[in-house]
Subunit: 298 residues, 2 copies
């Protein structure tokens, strides 16, 4: 898969996901129009749709049609979007700009944003349940449980708390930051791949390989994100450059330096590729995606 | 069942629920202690455990052991507690006192409270998935879907938005308030009963009867709550008397007057009892509970 083929692959997958997200957005009665609009605003504001694309790639890896796991893929984007809305709230990061547009609370007010996030998170689990129209209910429940763990206190929510606790602390070690990132972004990225593979019939060994890959590229993704925050420009980022630093965020580059962070990201990608070595051509999109992750700023 | 037998029934069921909630509370690593404490603070601050008790009563109604649906019962209390934490936040009702203790954000800060709520909601779906250890996964998924719909934009979250929108509006009709309450509190109360009954094998007709009962007593419960806010005392309420009025909340008594509200609550209870008429002695706890709901202030 060449870089331009990857670009086309990502574009096509994003289109499939965007269309399905639009269908999955609840169409609410007029009394609740602010809720519908607030959810739509954040859900449809763009974004790479990385998590849904990884979920579909996980299914593809096991020989299934990528579209077969679309409900779960969309649920993952609902969860990711809820987390962005809540993160941006004044009580959290207090960000005004996200994906190049005003954040949900700036446009709709804090209360509506809080509830839009709650609504997206809750709706995600109803969408996952819908996956049972085509898949074994026991497997769907297992996927739902994995996704809940990766999103909640054992994953993303826990990572937010750890991140918050680390803010302003000095002398954070690389290991502290790895712990935070593994929960905050790594868990959801990993479960995106793993849930797709599980639904497509992955056994324990295959699931372990996929999770191994997911953890490595998840960590690399976060480091790349932190590097982008330092090296990127506002247009690429859709948010002000240097906002992590301004907020005293625990980032990998701030703990070990730019060069060491770049090198760590590359190592992680190589370790991720190693985890996929038992797979053949069916893992090609994942291998190319892995490399894309650390190059996406360029 | 006499009033004192009901009191004993509620006490015993509450003890069973409290013990299980404590077991289900995630035991997190030390880095996340503030999250564990904030969740525990709100979850274990007391409360009647009405929703778990209704879930168990729903199972009992279908001849199952009440303890057989304990995971789902606890998940419902996790969801109810998350909604209280988010409701109390400054961006929402800005309440300092709940169940007689400082609200979550007053004690742990806004960010931790927001995340504790997110964590409880997400964990709830992992707990529901656990119900598949003893129950058919397809039925568990159906229960999870029902609960998600009743908690999210089609239920509780939607009700919050409708309530927020109505705040400060004048000339609200009884019907407007019924719509808000049906979503805001009715849906979760109804699904508590219905999910318990469904897991215990209820068919479509039985489920419809249980839901009919749930909707009526849910509406009566909210009116009783609004009456308590006007007529009760701070000790019984665990929050300041008259706080709804002070916040310009849409309440049934404020739309139709105290007497008409009292009478409406009684009518709803009678309609609820009518919905249960095809059941025999196994519905006795529900019948007594229904009457208790409008008398609990006394």
């Amino acid at each position: 898969m060449t870089p331009s083929e990857l670009k086309e692959y990502l574009k096509q997958r994003k289109e499939i996901v965007d269309a399905e997200l639009l269908l999955r957005l609840p169409k609410l009665p007029p009394e609740l129009s602010i809720l519908e609009e607030a959810m739509a605003h954040s859900l449809m504001a763009g974004g790479k749709r990385l998590r849904p694309i990884l979920c579909m790639a996980g299914a593809e890896l096991m020989g299934a049609e990528p579209e077969s796991v679309l409900p779960t893929a969309c649920a993952l984007e609902f969860i990711h979007t809820y987390s962005l809305i809540h993160d941006d709230l004044p009580a959290m990061d207090d960000d005004d700009l996200r994906r190049g547009v005003p954040t949900c609370h700036v446009k709709y007010g804090e209360a509506a944003a809080l509830l839009a996030g709650d609504g997206l998170l809750t709706e995600a689990f109803d969408i996952i349940a819908d996956q049972a129209r085509t898949h074994d209910p026991g497997t769907v429940l297992k996927a739902a449980s994995m996704i809940a763990r990766a999103s909640g206190v054992w994953g993303m929510v826990g990572g937010q708390v750890a991140d918050m606790r680390a803010e302003g602390l000095t002398g954070l070690q690389a290991g502290d930051i790895e712990f935070i990132h593994a929960l905050k972004t790594g868990a959801l990225i990993t479960v995106s791949l793993a849930s797709g593979a599980l639904l497509a019939g992955a056994g324990e060994e295959e699931l372990a390989a996929v999770e191994g890959f997911g953890k490595k590229i998840g960590a690399a993704f976060q480091i790349a994100d932190d590097l982008l925050d330092i090296e990127g420009d506002t247009e690429t980022l859709g948010k002000p450059v240097g906002s992590d630093q301004a907020q005293g965020k625990a980032t990998y580059p701030s703990a070990v330096g730019l060069e060491a962070a770049r090198s760590k990201a590359k190592d992680l990608i190589n370790e991720g590729l190693e985890a996929l070595k038992s797979f053949g051509r069916e893992a090609e999109p994942l291998r190319v995606l892995a490399v894309y992750i650390i190059n996406r700023s360029k």
